[in-house]
């Protein structure tokens, strides 16, 4: 396959960040516990990177302390209406951000579970450590394989071709595996091994030499080994991927200029055309709203615009488009979407129209298989209940949510992956 100079320049000038999974039985010991599932069940994980402001996503509008802690950022009850003037309350205590009308519609239809107060003991306020905690399901944050990588090593490794993928520029640590190379896809157009456009007849010779070199063995655990096996899988998997995703069609219009929607559309192209594809991972960044999380032209706060409103609107519209696409493909009963973020934000706002790093946060689990509703205890904003940094205390361990997804949806024993038994959070039958 040739790529022209013009294509390369055009592409490289406007980078788009946006990932698949292939078994790599020769990466290491292949004698582990194999559990080949024939299930059609699929999991889509959405990471909101930077620390989503949970208190302004699922809003405790009946709590006077929410208003006293956030004089500028809080939504008054009268402001809790979407653009169609419909109230966004989901209970006597909680309402969704007004920019999330699509999620609100899905919630009303019973397709959304909101798990409140999700966190872990001794919360870490570093983005990077807290992300590691969530990625590895290990509160000490000591690296190693990710929880989904461990799942893949057990459940997906025997599958033919692409069974998991990450959409984006970098493979998230959740998908770091010991025995599997999980592919990343940024852009389908460039997901291929290309040759000299001047001599298309030489492509076969080039591919042969490349493939022979990439099939070499290097010492396990070295950079060389990782690079070589990733390269081999990349080129091999690219051919399958290109052939498959070309067959995608859909009448669903994904919202433009919404990076999460673009990534979920790519996920849909994979999940709807490759039967074994069952684990997809997408990321939306930008949630680290230390300042200007709302617009405030001339000091006048406008909470319906600004960084946070844009981000949750992207999330809401993207999830709805993806859900509709799954429905159109007859797959809506097969897909569970799980959202997470490394922490919430400080209940008390700062003077920059923003919020600093926080702790526990609501999580969204979305899809037809989900039992819609509100789960977990809403953490108290009472001063005596806040920790020394002024942050809320968690009520649900994030590993309970993982365990529920693993045990109840993916039918894989969570104990082996999470290193312990965690309570079923209840949002799946």
């Amino acid at each position: 396959m040739a790529i022209t100079r013009r294509q390369f320049i055009k592409q490289s000038a406007g980078i788009a960040s946006v990932g698949i999974f292939m078994p790599r039985v020769w990466l290491g010991d292949a004698s582990g516990q194999e559990r080949l599932s024939n299930s059609r069940r699929k999991l889509v994980v959405i990471q909101l990177a930077g620390g989503n402001d949970g208190l302004n996503t699922v809003i405790p509008y009946s709590d006077s302390r929410y208003y006293s802690l956030r004089p500028a950022l809080s939504f008054k009850q009268t402001e809790l209406k979407d653009e169609l003037n419909r109230p966004t309350m989901i209970s006597n205590e909680l309402a969704l951000h007004p920019a999330m009308k699509e999620i609100k519609d899905l919630y009303d239809a019973g397709r959304v579970a909101i798990v409140n107060g999700v966190g872990y003991p001794q919360p870490n306020l570093s983005h990077f450590l807290s992300m590691d905690v969530w990625h590895t399901a290990n509160p000490s944050g000591v690296g190693g394989a990710g929880w989904l990588g461990k799942y893949a090593d057990i459940a997906l490794i025997g599958k033919q071709g692409i069974s998991a993928a990450s959409i984006g520029g970098a493979l998230p640590k959740s998908l770091f595996a010991n025995r599997s190379v999980i592919p990343n896809i940024q852009d389908f157009a460039f997901y291929n091994f290309v040759g000299d456009p001047g001599y298309p007849g030489d492509y076969g010779n080039q591919l042969n030499v490349f493939t022979a070199a990439a099939a070499r063995g290097f010492d396990l655990g070295t950079f060389q080994s990782a690079i070589n096996s990733t390269s081999f899988d990349a080129v091999k998997g690219a051919q399958q991927l290109q052939a498959s995703v070309a067959g995608y069609s859909s009448s669903v219009t994904y919202p433009p200029e919404n990076p999460l929607a673009a990534a979920l559309k790519m996920a849909s192209r994979i999940i709807t055309t490759i039967p074994d594809a069952s684990l997809l991972y997408v990321t939306l960044g930008g949630f680290d709203t230390h300042s200007d999380q709302i617009d405030h032209p001339g000091g006048q706060a406008n909470k319906l615009t600004g960084q946070h409103a844009s981000l949750v609107r992207w999330f809401s519209q993207a999830v709805k488009a993806f859900y509709d696409d799954m429905t159109e493909h007859g797959m809506a009963d097969d897909v569970v979407i799980m959202e997470w973020s490394e922490f919430g934000r400080r209940p008390e706002e700062n003077a920059s129209f923003g919020t600093d790093h926080g702790t526990a946060n609501p999580m969204f689990v979305i899809g037809n298989p989900v039992r819609g509703g509100i789960y977990g205890g809403q953490p108290s904003l009472n001063p005596v209940d806040l920790d020394a940094a002024g942050n809320i205390k968690f009520t649900v361990d994030f590993r309970s949510v993982y365990a529920t997804v693993l045990d109840r949806w993916l039918e894989t024993d969570s104990q082996g992956i999470l290193g312990g038994r965690f309570e079923n959070a209840g949002f799946l039958v």
């Binding site: 306020l125 896809i185 040759g195 076969g204 042969n208 022979a212 950079f223 923003g354």
Partner: protein, 481 residues
């Protein structure tokens, strides 16, 4: 002064620079270990007139309010012109190191501030760490990036105070003792010390339109007592920088960061911790001199050990700039960013996920295996193909060109010698015999796969030698430096 081996000199140049042609490597080898390191590090003595003339002729970055001449593409083109054309390679490499360390990005910060910060990093790259840290802290880019300008007394913003400690100086835990370096209370109190820090734009009549000045707004600065690391006083932000730069934990963190970026990744073994301590000690005894620590690392036995050789994964910028310098390709930046290639080195690096001035977050680009996934590898191979097939009839046109004449100069009389030559130029890479044989065979087969032999005629050079460059750049060995 004893010579060092050619391979050692090539290693030194790949690490302290981006690599280069055999003459540059041989010259370094003849200078001996310390001589070569000093030559690269004392770069102000190296004549850089050629690059300076290119910059003077090709850029006008004097007015940040002129978007046609001052924009992200232009400041990228400016930096990549430097990286590809400088004879002072270490100046660019250490500036890039600090850009990644104090990761600041155009995703939030105006291009003019990123350009100003690049000068700040450049000017203080080998200074005392205290001086570098203070200048970065007072520079507009960081003040906007981590919300210093809106950090005011009463309700401070913690963004800078946290990353200052976690990412820029000492880390959450000590690199050697693994003890916790600071508490959440320290974060809050340090945030108070930096309240009121702000930036004043150039005056209306100031002809230097990039003359942004640091200032402290007394009305917004918290003059109260702060308790930091167990001590209570009315600390200013500058006091905090001084206290942090003097901490042994900072010495270890900075020594480790420099070592891992230029030598090899460390483990938690006691030997590796001893290495950190050794270089941290240089930091403490040299008055926090970055240059002293860096020089100690670059002249150390560790740096030249077999463990260090090809122990790092090339970053995209290293890969792209390195390919140009190693093969003597032409990068002609032209006189203004235009579609079609004048900013091609920056664009290619972005395509490989390293967009200059735009690291992904405050922790910067992650090293080594973080660069390796199926998508980034395919993109590296696509770049290799693009580079290898960069033909031109007009090498004076803006863009990246690997000319026929240059390839002809490098091509040898036999397939065997030609493969050896290009493996040497692009590393020098040590590759197993079976793979070398495949590369030789490639040079000698036609499109149908029949062996037709190798003769270095124009057609063979244009097809097969370019194809060889592509294939070598796809090898696992080439991804390392």
């Amino acid at each position: 002064m004893t010579n060092i081996a050619y391979d050692e000199a090539a290693h030194l140049l790949r690490r302290l620079g981006f690599g280069g042609p055999p003459e540059e490597i041989s010259d370094l080898a003849s200078r001996g270990r310390e001589g070569a390191v000093d030559y690269l590090m004392d770069f102000s003595q190296i004549d850089n007139g050629g690059m300076d003339r290119l910059l003077a002729a090709g850029f006008d970055l004097s007015n940040p309010d002129d978007p046609a001449k001052f924009n992200l593409e232009e400041i990228q083109r400016w930096w990549f012109t430097r990286m590809a054309h400088t004879r002072r390679q270490f100046e660019e490499k250490i500036t890039l190191f600090w850009h990644n360390h104090f990761a600041t990005a155009v995703s939030k910060v105006n291009e003019r501030f990123m350009f100003i910060q690049n000068q700040t990093l450049r000017n203080h790259a080998l200074d005392r760490f205290d001086t570098l840290l203070l200048n970065v802290a007072q520079d507009p880019a960081m003040l906007f990036w981590l919300d210093g300008v809106t950090n005011v007394r009463g309700n401070p913003n913690e963004n800078w105070a946290r990353e200052l400690q976690e990412l820029f100086s000492m880390g959450i835990v000590d690199a050697v003792t693994e003890e916790q370096n600071y508490t959440e209370s320290d974060v809050k109190e340090i945030a108070r010390a930096f309240t009121g820090w702000t930036v004043r734009p150039p005056g209306r009549t100031d002809t230097n339109r990039l003359n942004y000045q640091f200032a402290i707004d007394p009305n917004q600065h918290d003059e109260g007592l702060k308790t930091v690391y167990g001590q209570t006083a009315n600390f200013s932000g500058q006091d905090i920088v001084t206290i942090i730069a003097a901490k042994p934990a900072t010495a270890r963190f900075i020594a480790k960061k420099l070592f891992e970026a230029f030598a090899y990744p460390l483990t938690s073994s006691s030997a590796d911790k001893a290495a950190i301590d050794k270089f941290a000690n240089v930091y403490m005894t040299s008055g926090h001199s970055i240059k002293s620590v860096a020089r100690a690392i670059f002249t150390s036995d560790e740096f030249f050990s077999s463990r260090a050789m090809f122990a790092l994964v090339k970053s995209p910028i290293e890969l792209v700039v390195g390919s140009v310098r190693m093969l003597g390709a032409i990068y002609n930046p032209g006189t203004l960013q235009r579609p079609g290639g004048s900013n091609i080195l920056a664009d290619a690096s972005s395509f490989l996920n390293q967009q200059a001035y735009n690291p992904p977050d405050v922790a910067g680009w992650r090293p080594n295996l973080a660069w390796v996934n199926t998508s980034t590898m395919l993109n590296r191979f696509t770049y290799a193909d693009f580079f290898a097939s960069s033909r031109t009839a007009n090498p004076n046109a803006p863009g990246l060109w690997l000319t026929h004449d240059q390839l002809k100069k490098l091509t040898k009389g036999s397939a065997k010698k030609t493969v050896s030559k290009f493996l040497e130029l692009l590393g020098p890479l040590s590759v197993d015999a079976a793979t070398v044989r495949k590369l030789r065979d490639y040079l000698q087969v036609n499109d149908g796969g029949d062996v037709v032999g190798f003769s270095p005629d124009d057609r063979t050079i244009d097809q097969k030698v370019r194809g060889l460059v592509h294939l070598i750049m796809c090898l696992t060995e080439f991804q390392l430096c």
